[in-house]
């Protein structure tokens, strides 16, 4: 059993999924919670339940729904053109990972954005900043620890994704077999040495995620303290 393929594929799938999830989650969290009008709030509520649904669904059910959506007869898969729709490709694994990790990113980003002191935003507004500039220069930096935490959770969830991926991407060694799928195959076929190795890799990855998050939190806190102490911004 080749173990390098699933590891590289998992990093590739989870990496790309995290980038997409981060951008999408941040955008949705900012957009859905900025609406003030009544119909807008109702629409936002509906969209929010849709985003959070994969948290409630068992992964196989998410996988089954994605199968219908991405298959050659589904609304998304039929646009793709290829004979099997998007199924059995590593992109299908990325889509599955995005769908299951988006709720975590969305919820973290939402909490982080709403916890930003409105006075800072109001102050920037009185000084004539555009909303876009305020968002990128005030809101996002102040909310960053929460956003980064959401990204880490999303990455972790994407690395561990199994049920939905098995359904839409298949379990094809060298093409769509990620670490959890390889682990499943190894356990299923009684290949304990491969299973133990993959388990070790997964544990190491989860350690790495925690280390990166804690490091970034410390750096953020340090740079904020530095600025507050009069170090000035660069």
């Amino acid at each position: 059993m080749n173990l390098l393929d699933p590891i590289l594929l998992s990093l590739r799938v989870a990496g790309l999924a995290t980038v997409i999830t981060a951008v999408l989650g941040l955008f949705l969290a900012a957009r859905l919670n900025a609406t003030r009008s009544r119909p807008g709030r109702i629409l936002a509520g509906g969209l929010e339940s849709l985003i959070l649904a994969p948290m409630v669904f068992p992964p196989t059910m998410t996988g089954y729904l994605l199968l219908l959506l991405l298959g050659p007869n589904g609304p998304v898969g039929s646009l793709w053109g290829a004979s099997g729709g998007l199924l059995f490709s590593w992109l299908a694994a990325v889509i599955a990972s995005v769908v299951v990790s988006l709720p975590l990113m969305y919820q973290s980003a939402k909490t982080a954005l709403t916890s930003v002191d409105p006075h800072c935003i109001a102050a920037a507004r009185t000084l004539g900043s555009s909303e876009r500039r305020i968002f990128w220069k005030i809101t996002v930096p102040l909310a960053w620890p929460g956003i980064a935490g959401g990204m880490a959770l999303a990455f972790a969830r994407a690395i561990g994704e199994f049920g939905a991926t098995l359904m839409v991407a298949g379990n094809i060694p060298g093409a769509t077999q990620t670490i959890p799928l390889a682990l499943y195959s190894a356990v299923e076929s009684g290949n304990t040495s491969a299973a133990n190795l993959l388990l070790g890799v997964t544990v190491a990855l989860s350690f790495a995620i925690v280390i990166v998050v804690r490091w970034s939190e410390r750096r953020t806190a340090a740079s904020r303290a530095h600025r507050l102490a009069g170090g000035g911004s660069r």
């Binding site: 989870a14 790309l16 995290t18 094809i172 911004s233 660069r234």
Partner: protein, 267 residues
Amino acid sequence: MRIIPFFMLNSLRPLWLATAIAGLVIWSGSGCSGKDPLIISAASSLGPVLEELKPAAEAACGSRIALNLAGSGALRTQIESGAPADVFIPAASPDMDLLEKAGLILRDTRRDCAANALVLVSATRTLADGTHDLATTLAVWSRIAVGDPVSAPVGRYTTNVLARLGLEQSLSNKVVTGNSVRQIVSYIETGSVDGGFVFATDAQRLIQAGKARHLRRFTPAESGGEVRYPAAVLARSHNPEAARKFVLFLSGTTAQAAFERAGFTKP
């Protein structure tokens, strides 16, 4: 306009580093493609044998082969939704029957490529041997692992055996139900049960690893039908010629020898 404030670039260096590494990994891996391989959707229990046969099979059918291994039911759902598979090999006939009824397989290509049998094994620590009759042996056990008759094919055969031997009543409070044969195997491996009903291939692996002892092999008459692994070319195969050759290869001497080594029997 500077979209990202400069201080962020600095204070978040580890995250940018992580992103850059992720980007490199994505970049490095995305360039792989070749001629479309034959996709074999097979029950995961067949994985080791098919993996071993892959080079010979590729030579025989003149196409690269990709194995897609999962539970038979999940594979069937994928095929029903139009997933691009070429050959289907489930661990139980009903999944194949459903696809045949839906016209999703090429009917004339269907043939059984291997067979299995139901076996009762005891965990190594259990004091039991095959000399007593089954009822006496099982009477002293306190826990026995059995497959769920709904979700695990092994459970259906086990239920038949227990009914035929009239043991259902006496075992009902000792039964530990597993969702798949794999779960039963791990109960036996860890010694969590006194023994259990598994397939001959699982029994062989358990016994070779010194984790179980063979007690009794059941005939197809006792287990209510033979355990068969049917194979067929799918109607939507992109390369039916090569797929046909693959299914024929499975019945050939090379493949049958490999199946036999893994504990399967001839269909």
